[in-house]
């Protein structure tokens, strides 16, 4: 009887989630901003461009202007490998102009895999009997945060939740407070999670306010696929996720609730990648136009094998799977189309793919990743397909990743400064578009890298890291006082000294 009652209460909860009035007001004559026919027409009508035309569009990206959809469709028609090479290089230059020579790292924390939806590609879907269902208690959430902050040294996490009353907005708010409350003693100082982003269901404005009030970083919701018919096929109509506009307009509701950093993305491999990239651009343009603030980040995961998923991940049976070559192209196109946005490449991808594509404009990545529920505290070092949403392609530790990046002269950043001094919303958009934010990125990368090297690095990593940090400091010194004022340089160096002596969390 108990189970029947639980099912009834879950069913009652499901029926109460969607508030049509919260998205209907944004529709134009009942239609959302993704016009499938128009997107296909733009893709089909574009022709292979001349090198001059390509360079004109690339110049617009380099000036940090969002491309219009026909320009993006034009770039998709490039066939010359040398021109593609120019585009890869320009994507890297655009990223460097806006975010400098740094990669931000984070870890995902999976807090629960209960889910009321039935998405055909997902291991968490309700009908998947193989999945072992669980939810972290708040004490277990604390254990995870302590392992991530204290053993690995991350300062930023993304907490992930299925859509279910067990992990509703109240639970999420409590878990975020728990993560923020953790502080762990380290070799020379202390470590804590300073920014908690979340990947969760599309909530109502009232629920989003609960998340805003506990100080979430970025609120990330992926549309999965922007193609309406495909969306309908993959998300059964009798589920919450079956409602396309409820999901599509969640970032609008987040802005209404006062959340000023939102993130979009889609799952590549569900439909034609060219259409999806156009969908992401339309989404970014819609947010910029309506709220003056585009997406803080864009994600572009490719579909991976998942427990009990009927959707084939074999290219023989799924024509939409994205090859490594096309993946590199689509990442480059996203960087060029939405030049100001952060871009996240995750450990879903194999190491060789990540090492290549990261340099086509990506700004963030994860490492020491464990997507099992409670996986960091258990620390078995193994993946179990029946305990996680999908299988990872790259299981490098944070230290290994930092070492690999250092060998390429790249500094790993643990910066969370922006949202702790109001560089959010309109302000961060302005800084990104003017190319000012990169200077803050550089200084805060130096300060947080120093912390990590002192607290967590082994001897070999420390040696490589010291070379990177010396190079970065020298660049700052050379740009003082033309870019960095004497006052800013002196402050940074005094913080650097204090951090070397064990103080923590000093930022510009």
């Amino acid at each position: 009887m108990h189970m029947v009652n639980d099912k009834l209460s879950t069913s009652a909860w499901v029926n109460n989630v969607i508030k049509p009035e919260e998205y209907e007001k944004y529709l134009d004559n009942g239609k959302d901003f993704i016009d499938d026919d128009k997107i296909w027409q733009q893709i089909n009508d574009s022709v292979e461009p001349s090198p001059e035309r390509v360079r004109e569009i690339l110049a617009k990206s380099f000036n940090v202007q969002t491309l219009d959809p026909t320009e993006l469709a034009t770039l998709m028609k490039v066939r010359d490998p040398e021109l593609w090479q120019e585009m890869y290089e320009m994507a890297a230059k655009v990223k460097h102009k806006i975010y400098d020579n740094r990669i931000i790292t984070f870890a995902p924390i999976y807090c629960g895999n209960f889910c009321v939806n039935n998405c055909l590609y997902c291991g968490f879907r309700a009908d998947n009997d193989k999945e072992k269902r669980t939810k972290l208690s708040l004490a277990q959430v604390r254990d995870e945060a302590e392992a991530i902050a204290g053993r690995i040294g991350h300062k930023r996490v993304i907490a992930v939740y299925g859509e279910h009353p067990e992990t509703d907005a109240d639970f999420i708010a409590e878990s975020i407070k728990t993560i923020y409350s953790v502080s762990v003693k380290t070799r020379k100082g202390h470590s804590e999670i300073r920014r908690v982003n979340i990947n969760a269901a599309p909530f109502s404005v009232a629920d989003l306010r609960k998340l805003q009030e506990v100080g979430i970083g970025t609120y990330q919701v992926f549309q999965e696929t922007y193609h309406h018919d495909t969306y309908k096929k993959l998300h059964p109509a009798d589920t919450i996720k079956g409602n396309y506009p409820w999901r599509l307009y969640v970032h609008h509701r987040a802005y209404e609730a006062g959340i000023d950093d939102v993130a979009i993305g889609c799952l590549f491999g569900l439909y034609d990648w060219r259409f999806e990239v156009m969908g992401l651009l339309y989404h970014a343009i819609e947010l910029e136009t309506r709220f003056g603030v585009g997406p803080h980040t864009i994600s572009f995961p490719r579909i991976n094998p998942a427990s009990g998923s009927p959707l084939p991940t074999d290219p023989t049976y799924n024509k939409y799977l994205v090859s490594d070559e096309d993946f590199k192209k689509l990442v480059t196109l996203i960087r060029l189309a939405v030049p100001y946005t952060g871009m996240i490449i995750t450990a879903r991808e194999r190491q060789e793919v990540r090492d290549d594509v990261m340099f086509c404009g990506c700004t963030q990545t994860d490492a020491s990743t464990n997507i099992g529920i409670g996986g960091y505290a258990k620390n078995t070092g193994k993946q179990d397909i029946d305990e996680q949403q999908f299988m990872l392609g790259d299981t490098r530790s944070l230290e290994e990743l930092i070492r690999d990046l250092a060998k390429r002269g790249v500094i790993t950043s643990f910066c969370t400064a922006g949202y702790r001094c109001g560089r959010t919303g309109d302000q961060i958009m302005d800084l990104l578009k003017k190319g000012h934010e990169k200077h803050f990125c550089k200084l805060n990368a130096i300060l947080t890298y120093r912390e990590w090297l002192d607290d967590f690095a082994g001897e070999e990593t420390k040696k490589l890291g010291e070379a990177v940090i010396r190079k970065e400091i020298e660049e700052v010194r050379k740009k003082t006082p033309t870019i960095f004022s004497k006052k800013l340089y002196d402050l940074t160096m005094s913080y650097y000294e204090r951090i070397s002596n064990g103080e923590r969390d000093l930022y510009i």
């Binding site: 100080g215 109001g422 560089r423 800013l488």
Partner: protein
């Protein structure tokens, strides 16, 4: 939350003291941008006023810190605010 300080005042202070000045709302450990005035520069952000809900940040090279603090405090009543 209504803006605790007007756009006009932010613009006036930015011009008078030659700074970038912006108003934020405190949410847990983060400060969320509400409104600002003055040109963005690559300078340290200094928190010159904070209450339970609101903060005011300033960026400037050489400026009369005591003067701008006093003006911001007088605008952001009640007088019990911590300056």
């Amino acid at each position: 939350m209504a803006n605790a300080i007007s756009t006009f005042d932010l613009e006036r202070l930015a011009k008078k003291y030659g700074v970038r000045i912006w108003l934020c709302r405190r949410i847990g450990r983060r400060w969320s941008f509400i409104e600002g005035a003055g040109a963005e520069r690559v300078l340290p952000s200094e928190l010159i006023y904070e209450s339970a809900e609101t903060g005011v940040f300033v960026q400037g090279e050489e400026f009369d810190e005591a003067g701008i603090k006093a003006e911001v405090c007088s605008l952001l009543q009640p007088p019990t605010a911590v300056c």
